[in-house]
Every structure is written in structure tokens, then in C-alpha cells.
């Protein structure tokens, strides 16, 4: 298992994808965090005078800005995890992988653990971007960036955990849907279209909203404890309290485990021809 872990780590860091996606994450999260900081910092007072506009209390602004790392960035570790598996199928490197590690469960478990660590690393990098871009803007616009608050760093820790779990979910998805293009399309379609629609649509009917709390994106936001997407409520929406942070984390962890088990039981054990 130690050998497989070391090999999977080496595999991950010897192609370009990890740092390309890492740069995308940092750029994307930094941009969104900066944008949110400017929007609610500079425009905050104007918004506050308009009762129709979305309201963000000043004391929750840092959490919303800093949590851009998971609110918009979670798809990046998810893609990394997916590519870590489907890339092996696409480039036929499962052959040398299974020649050196014939126990396929060991190989998959090693991949899961390595991607958990990599996802956590992405979380840390994304936080550097969201705090690095957001905190100065909040401070400059007269807000309190709350960098000395323990709640801020607890949120950061939960964001790292969420990003780690998303990368593990990606490994599961990749082991189940081995065609790289199909897997990426499914991931993007679900995270960028299907789930946002479900979350938005379910907000108008209480029983649906209860169930929608268990959608992976909602669970992730619950785990982190803040997200730009959960900060608004409009006319006609029902307010359902989100899951507790640990419940959100559990939903993600169980999702990762279930998808990986399904992948192991089906596609992962197939003949490598």
C-alpha cells in the first residue's frame, strides 16, 4: 500500500495537469473573491438603502468572500480527481499500473488517498487566493476582514476538508465513468447546470428543499458554513436550515465512498485488453 501511495503521488505530480488546474483554481477563486469584495464592499451602502436588493450583513461578508474557494472552486478538485482515473484509461496506463500493483482495490484506494491530499492542497491554495484577494479589498472598503477571528480559520479548515472530499468524489466518478470525455461532461453538466437548477427550483417547495439539502453542492456549502449561493433568499423561497457542517461533510464522504465502490465493483475490475 505504501508503494502504491508513493507511485500514485508521483504519477500525479509528473504531468502538467495538477499545476495547470491549480493555476486555474487560484485565478478563478481570486477573481470571484475580489469581485464579491468589491461588490458588497463598495456597493454595500447603496445596496443597504434599497430594500429590494440582496442584503449581506457586514459581519458575514468575509466568510462569503473567503468561501468562494469552495462555492465556485469545488469543481476544480472534482475534475482533477476524475482526470486522475480517466487519464489512465485514455492513455492506457492502467496496464503498467496493474502490472506493478495487481491488487486493483489497492490501486484505487491509493488513488483516493492521494487525491484527498491533493484536493486538500487545492483547498489551501484556493484559500490563499480568496483571502489574498478578498481581505485587502474588505479592509480597504472599511470592513473588518476578520483575519484574527477563530471562526474564519475554522471555516478555512472546513474548506480544505471540502476540497479534499471533492477530489475523492472525482476519483469515484472517474472509476465509474471511464471515458474521459463522458466523465468530464457529466461532471460539468451536473455541477454547473443540473444541481444549480435543482437547488434553485427546490427552494420554492418545502419538502423538495428538505431533500435538496443533501445534494452534494448543498452539502459542501453546509460543510464549509458559508457560500455566496446560500446567502440570498428571494420572494416565494422557503427557508430550510442547511445541514450541520459535519452532516454536510458526511454526505460528501459517503458520496465519494459509494461512487468509488460502484466504480470498483463494475468498470475498475474489467479486463484490460
Amino acid at each position: 500500500m505504501t508503494r502504491a501511495l508513493a507511485a500514485e503521488w508521483r504519477k500525479l505530480v509528473t504531468t502538467r495537469i495538477w499545476w495547470v488546474l491549480g493555476l486555474v483554481l487560484i485565478g478563478y477563486v481570486g477573481f470571484v473573491a475580489g469581485l464579491l469584495g468589491v461588490m458588497f464592499g463598495v456597493l454595500g451602502e447603496q445596496l443597504a438603502q434599497d430594500p429590494e436588493a440582496p442584503q449581506i450583513p457586514a459581519e458575514t461578508l468575509p466568510a462569503i468572500v473567503y468561501s468562494s474557494v469552495t462555492a465556485v472552486g469545488y469543481v476544480i478538485p472534482l475534475i482533477l480527481g476524475t482526470l486522475a482515473v480517466t487519464g489512465e484509461v485514455r492513455h492506457r496506463t492502467l496496464t503498467p499500473t496493474f502490472l506493478a500493483t495487481p491488487a486493483r482495490g489497492t490501486a484505487l484506494l491509493a488513488k483516493l488517498l492521494v487525491l484527498l491530499a491533493a484536493g486538500g492542497g487545492y483547498g489551501a491554495a484556493g484559500l490563499v487566493a480568496s483571502i489574498g484577494a478578498g481581505a485587502p479589498i474588505i479592509a480597504l472598503t472599511g470592513g473588518d476582514p476578520q483575519l484574527d477571528a477563530s471562526a474564519t480559520w475554522a471555516l478555512a479548515g472546513r474548506a480544505v476538508l471540502a476540497m479534499a472530499l471533492w477530489a475523492a468524489v472525482g476519483v469515484g466518478v472517474g472509476s465509474l465513468i471511464q471515458n474521459q470525455l463522458a466523465a468530464v461532461v457529466v461532471v460539468l453538466a451536473f455541477t454547473q447546470f443540473v444541481e444549480p437548477m435543482l437547488r434553485f427550483g427546490s427552494a420554492f417547495w418545502e419538502p423538495a428543499a428538505q431533500v435538496a439539502r443533501f445534494l452534494p453542492g448543498s452539502a459542501s456549502d453546509a460543510l464549509v458554513g458559508a457560500s455566496i449561493f446560500t446567502s440570498f433568499s428571494g420572494g416565494g423561497m422557503v427557508a430550510v436550515p442547511p445541514l450541520d457542517w459535519w452532516q454536510g461533510g458526511l454526505v460528501l464522504a459517503v458520496l465519494a465512498a459509494l461512487v468509488a465502490l460502484a466504480g470498483y465493483a463494475t468498470a475498475w475490475r474489467r479486463d484490460i485488453t
Partner: protein
């Protein structure tokens, strides 16, 4: 060093309604180079992949020294395998690829530099494999196979894509490895490619074993070209001797006997020969006839 015996017993693989390999049984001995021959699609690759735990047999077993590949504690230190020249991530360098394999297989990192030197790709080792020619990929595949200094080697079409210098190099390498006592199994769809390298052959056609033995045994079923001033008398004598005679460019081509037997028949019939030689293309013809993959005769 003495390599393990590789044993196939009743090995069968069905993909849906298609039987790719059927009831295959043979043993590969250490110390010699064994050619695993057959046309494309005969089931060679599927057989090798079953041996290496990559494809699950429908029936039968394939073992290395009596052990299933997946039960070997450090498999790549026992069996070195090069299966296809495309099993590399194009964005990874050759050195990194070998490091990944060495790490996973529990092989000391110092072997990476050694096999890079041995296979002659050291200078290109830090370039991404995406830019490699087929010949360089073949060498990298072989480097990966040799990483664990294995006592058995299983190579699928290793000569494909190599330049003439590379072909000569791999032939001598295989002979050296076998002479050291290792078990060497090399597949090819071309007999001529491995003819000068292999000591024993296993020939597969449509998933079934059609011949196992030495090349000499195949050659004894060889064709002979023979001619005499009195051609008709020669043909009559050969036909009377129970041989199949057909016209050749010069004289007759005889199947089913070696030069010695043909010469003896001519002598008994009192016919002076003007030509008697083994047909150079005969071995390939026998191969094609066995595998049913070429025009007859």
C-alpha cells in the same frame, strides 16, 4: 539464474459469443527464447494478458513457477512485461514513467538509470514521451520490463517499429537474457521477424494451439526445390514415393520431405539431379499453412 516455467493449462477466454482463446495448454521453459507466433487476431495478446492478470480467463489457468501473477509479492521483479508501445502518458517523461513503475513495484530507483542506459534512450529520458517515435516507445517499454531485473520476460510484438539496428540489438539482448537462464516469451505475427532469435515456437491460430516445438521440427515439414535433366522421370519417382509434387520456377517443388529424403528417392530411381535445395520460403509457407492466414502453396 534459472527462470520459472510459465505454464498455460486449458486456458480459455470468451468475449461474449466470440472465443478468443480456446483450451490452450503449453509450457514455456527457462533458458531458451520461445516465440509465440500467430497472425493478428489469433489470441496472442489476450493469452499474455491473462497470464499477467489483466484479463480474467473464462476457464483454465496461467501460472509463473506455479503461481498466479496476482499472487506474486513483487510481480515486476519476477516477470518483466512489455505489452504495447502505447501504454505511456504522453505528457510524462520516460524517466518519470520508469520512476512511477519502480515505485509501485518496489524496485530501487537506481535501476531507472540502468535500464535507460541499457535500452539506449538515456539521452531522451527527460523528454515527454508524446514526442517519441514508435521505436523509442518500444525501447521504453522494454526498459520498464527490465526494471525489476526479472527472471522471466514476456514481450508482445517487441520488434514492431524498431529500425534494423534496433532489431539486431533486441535479438542479441533476448539471446543473452535466455542464456543467463531466464524464461523469455516473445510474441510476433511474423515468423521471419523472430526466426533467427527463437529456439522454440508456439504457434497459435484462431485461439488454438497448432504447433509447439523447435523450429527444426517445423523445417522438417519443409518444402524442397529439386530439378533434374529428366524432369518427368523425377516427378514420377517422387509421386511414386508418396510426395506432393508441384511445378516450381526451376524444376519441382516437393512438400512433405526434406532434401535428404528427396535425394534418396532420386538415387533409388537412378535419376541424376541438377538441383536440390530446401525452399527458402518454405518455413514461412508452413507457418502460413498452419495458421491458415495466407494463400496456400
Amino acid at each position: 539464474m534459472r527462470g520459472p516455467e510459465i505454464e498455460f493449462r486449458g486456458l480459455t477466454k470468451r468475449f461474449g459469443a466470440v472465443t478468443a482463446v480456446e483450451d490452450l495448454s503449453f509450457t514455456v521453459r527457462p533458458g531458451v527464447v520461445t516465440g509465440f507466433l500467430g497472425p493478428n487476431g489469433a489470441g496472442k495478446t489476450t493469452t499474455l494478458r491473462m497470464l499477467l492478470g489483466l484479463v480474467r480467463p473464462s476457464a483454465g489457468t496461467a501460472t509463473i513457477g506455479g503461481v498466479d501473477y496476482r499472487r506474486l509479492p513483487t510481480p515486476i521483479a519476477v516477470v518483466g512485461a512489455a505489452l504495447e508501445a502505447t501504454s505511456f502518458h504522453p505528457g510524462r517523461t520516460a524517466r518519470d514513467h520508469l520512476r512511477v513503475v519502480a515505485t509501485a513495484g518496489g524496485i530501487h530507483a537506481s535501476r531507472v538509470g540502468e535500464v535507460l542506459r541499457l535500452t539506449g534512450i538515456e539521452e531522451a529520458a527527460d523528454r515527454r514521451v508524446g514526442g517519441y517515435s514508435l521505436g523509442m516507445r518500444q525501447r521504453l517499454g522494454l526498459a520498464a520490463a527490465l526494471l525489476g531485473d526479472p527472471v522471466a520476460l514476456v514481450l508482445d510484438e517487441p520488434i514492431n517499429g524498431l529500425d534494423p539496428e534496433g532489431i539486431r540489438w533486441i535479438r542479441s539482448l533476448l539471446r543473452i537474457l535466455a542464456a543467463e537462464g531466464r524464461t523469455v516469451l516473445v510474441s510476433s505475427h511474423l515468423l521471419s521477424e523472430v526466426q533467427q532469435t527463437v529456439d522454440e515456437v508456439v504457434i497459435l491460430a484462431r485461439g488454438r494451439l497448432v504447433h509447439q516445438g523447435t523450429l527444426e521440427e517445423l523445417e522438417s515439414r519443409d518444402a524442397v526445390v529439386v530439378d533434374a535433366p529428366d524432369r518427368l522421370a523425377l516427378a514420377a519417382a517422387l509421386a511414386a514415393g508418396g510426395l506432393v509434387v508441384e511445378p516450381a520456377a526451376t524444376g519441382w517443388r516437393v512438400r512433405g520431405a526434406g532434401p535428404a529424403a528427396v535425394g534418396a528417392i532420386a538415387q533409388r530411381a537412378g535419376i541424376a539431379l541438377s538441383l536440390l535445395r530446401a525452399d527458402a520460403d518454405g518455413l514461412e509457407d508452413v507457418f502460413l499453412a498452419l495458421t491458415g492466414s495466407g494463400a496456400e502453396g
